[in-house]
Symmetry: C2
Subunit: 343 residues, 2 copies
């Protein structure tokens, strides 16, 4: 493997508010050689996810900041090209966290072999991967529906996480209501994914109008809410919560670009609802719950393989396209799971 | 019992913002006669509690609004003076919800006999009554300490609820930190109740200063927070929450006087903390959990009888003093449990 060259993208600078292409730098480096116990992987798909925005900041987040000058973190799926670990052979497909790079090495324990005979490789970065598990944990373990026909609302409903939340709710016999931006995404959520209703938040010019749209879509109130967005959407749904509702806070993408001293767009305006509805609100990140991945992935794999969970991807071509694709993701320009195809 | 007369206080009008004495009316009425299955009680002590403020509004709250022209709701302890229920005899002491009145009738099932040989009658409106159970439920069932030496913070720490929260935490070997208004209350919380520290929120002129005081009192962060107050206090403590912290929302007294269209003082300014700390926040009212009262009251009665839970009372004399005492409670002028002594 000596002297073979490949591309990677490093964090060049931290964003001041919005992310810009300047924050990234494309480099050409030697392909690394695996040490004893390590595996060299050729990356086929890179996953782009909102959590990466938090890591670009220096401030306290739920994860360590991304170091400057190092390969951007990120989930990947690819093919083993060299192995010094007894459990892996060239040609096998593996999921890992190799980052924004064409080739990466990892210890065997940090890679999971995946079966691509029944489920396409890219789905292991989507509904049968981290986004799917995120949906599964928040829905199954926090919202945890108590009875049939509860109303479950999810924001960013056409996205990689939200689309799975609503489809799990439908499989369970719940009323699933999505919130998404624009008529095309809303039509997809209802017509393709089978949600009962979808609120197009772009049709509301302020919180009051948005609250009216949410109210119309949730005539029996809201029993479970899966939050990806924050801001007005959070406040509009909160006003509809039923007694003993559960709110799973997965993301607050509307605030990710805030500057340190800027007030959060997501401020919860009426905490008295905590007493009116005696609801529970809980933040989570799925990597805190690795013990539950086997259980969750088994359920998700069955639903995806059986066609009960559908998914959609937006695929950018080539590593150099990753920064623009990531900025588009933060602005909601993707439709479904945002991937970068490297091979 | 015919023609005997007694006093009661009814809601005369709904407050526009702050409660005023005009919102109440003292009336003299016939003492009611018990029907079959009912008991006539002479009230010795009336409990004044912040929840009553919510019921004075017409808007949606966690309970039905208090009807105009009817006796104000409220917990009471008193003596049976006439009984048409086989389970009760004159001279027995009973807790009930007879309201702001000198005499009241209730069905036997709505009264609980109490043993005043070991615990004084008034304590059944405090640490061994609804406030004690409120503390017990939020602390034991929501905060639910996981390991020794967690830091538990409670606002309104010198009050009927907060004082019990902190003392339960100390009995369990936790670090208990109170938040209270003024040096006298803080000294009581630390010196008399045995909390490890107390923040005097009146020493801070803004959120930034308050946050600094809270930080100094919680060097290891906050694992559990029992919220009675809201506003700046809530935001200051939220910034200190550790990973997997639990917040029990019992009351938001700083907002109770808000007018309907006024923004809540308690707005949660930085919901991103839900992701940074993956904490849980849950509102509750203790009357949703009547099934747990026997378990809770048994523990509380043991601690109060054994002197491990101390309590303090502010006692107003005579029914006519109730409105002023209630307004004082909303302004934090009481010190410990606010009672009205009628006999």
């Amino acid at each position: 493997m000596t002297a073979q060259r490949a591309q990677r993208i490093v964090l060049a600078s931290r964003p001041d508010g919005h992310v810009s292409p300047d924050n990234f730098r494309l480099e050409t480096v030697d392909v690394p050689a695996p040490a004893e116990g390590e595996v060299l992987v050729k990356v086929h798909y890179l996953s782009l996810d909102p959590y990466m925005r938090g890591r670009m900041n220096e401030s306290r987040s739920y994860a360590q900041p991304q170091p400057l000058g190092e390969t951007m973190v990120g989930g990947t799926v690819g093919e083993v090209v060299a192995s010094r670990h007894a459990g892996f052979e060239p040609g096998e497909h593996v999921v890992g966290n190799l980052g924004w790079t064409e080739y990466g090495v990892a210890k065997g324990a940090a890679l999971q072999k995946v079966d691509t005979s029944r489920i396409p490789m890219s789905a292991y970065l989507g509904p049968v991967g981290m986004p799917g598990m995120t949906a599964w944990y928040g829905y199954r373990k926090i919202i945890a529906p108590k009875r049939a026909s509860e109303t479950i609302v999810v924001s960013a409903a056409s996205g990689a996480v939200g689309s799975v939340v609503g489809q799990l709710a439908k499989i369970d016999g719940m009323r699933a209501v999505g919130i998404a931006g624009g008529p095309e995404k809303c039509a997809y959520v209802v017509d393709e994914l089978g949600f009962d209703a979808c609120v197009d938040y772009k049709q509301a010019k302020d919180l009051r109008e948005l609250a009216r749209l949410v109210r119309a879509a949730t005539p029996d109130g809201v029993d479970g809410y899966f939050e990806n967005v924050g801001g007005d959407v959070l406040n509009a749904v909160m006003a509809r919560l039923n007694t003993f509702a559960r709110v799973a806070v997965c993301g607050l993408i509307s605030d990710y670009d805030n500057k340190p001293d800027e007030p959060a767009r997501s401020a919860i305006l009426n905490p008295a609802m905590f007493l009116v509805a005696r609801f529970k609100m809980e933040g989570f990140i799925v990597s805190d719950h690795l013990d539950l991945w086997p259980e969750g992935l088994k359920e998700l794999g069955g639903h995806v393989g059986g066609g009960r969970i559908k998914y959609r991807e937006t695929v950018a071509e080539g590593l150099a396209s990753a920064p623009d694709a990531f900025i588009g993701l933060l602005k909601g320009r993707n439709f479904g799971k945002q991937l970068v195809k490297l091979v």
